[in-house]
Amino acid sequence: MKRYLPYAIILAVFLIATGAGIELYQNHDQPPAPVPKGKLAFGKPGAEPPHIRGRAKAPVALEEFGDFQCLPCSLLFPVLKQAEADYSEVLSVTFRHYPLNQHTHAIDAARAAEAAGLQGHFWEMHDSLYESRLVWLNAADTRAALTSLAAKLGLDIDRFQKDMDNEEVTRRLAADMERVTSLELDRTPSVFINGDPITVRPITIEILHAAIDAARGKQK
């Protein structure tokens, strides 16, 4: 009997661990992430996993479709940062790429953000691209300027330069653009809160506060 005891213990632990894992997986005690409704419900999913700042289970989910070259997007950037600070406990922000055709450097900037993302620094590059938008836009060599930004963030430069043309980066950008097309978006920035679009322009901090409060109010 003692001969088989260790195997019995191992089997018991295996069964308990598997059962606990399944039970934990099926346990829905956490509030589910807000389900996109309205227009967003019909869109393609976009790049997975998405770039999300804040808690993924936050009750208010803001999704921005942006272009690093576009001026209104760069004007919205500090407004969004302010909203993130004001609603840090309840708001998550997802960024989707929507580089407009007429913005000749927007694709390179989006690639730079994704390449930084492959090193775990998407949001740092995102912020840096908006903060120093004029620097890289006016540079004679855009890629060199973007590489310089990556260097300031302490990224592995060789890898960053290779990753700018990485297949994964291309695939993620294409996936976000598929989402843009499926949602029939026609401008940047396009902002949705829990699936509802913000249609007022320009998007000010007051408008964002009102929209976030309204989204929270609907859940109460």
Partner: protein, 167 residues
Amino acid sequence: MKEADPPFANPNGQSPITRRRRIESCLYILAAFIALLGLSDSIYLTVQHLAGRDVDCIAFAACETVLTSSYAAIGKIPVAAFGALAYFGVFSLATLAAFGREWTRRLFICLVGVMMGATCWLLYLQAFVLHAFCDFCLLSAALTTILAAIGLVIFFTGKNRPAVIHS
């Protein structure tokens, strides 16, 4: 084939081999308990990853940075799942060793060594690439470090083990 205790014994009436075996058995039992803790930790992380749920970190606010980074999964398999497999392996080997299955000793030491190597790599990523730490990852690193220490002790006690006398 039976091992015989050497004719000399210490004042407690235990031969050095018996004493050493007892110590090793205690170490294996300790390792099995630590592996169970690591198994729980990594199962939790695996399930939260697969279910797409947040992990409730306490000490480090940047936990999500680590757990949603591109390093958190290999393909579609969360890294924590490999950790769960490894901890289950350590638990199984330690349990078998505690019950006197000598052949598991080397496997145990090798597995713990590989886990320590992986832990160093993951700590490097958190400290120097992601610049963010995650509570559950650090807990796992601490548990693996203890397992590695146990593995080292077992390795060195085994090296000095007296020749086995077969009757």
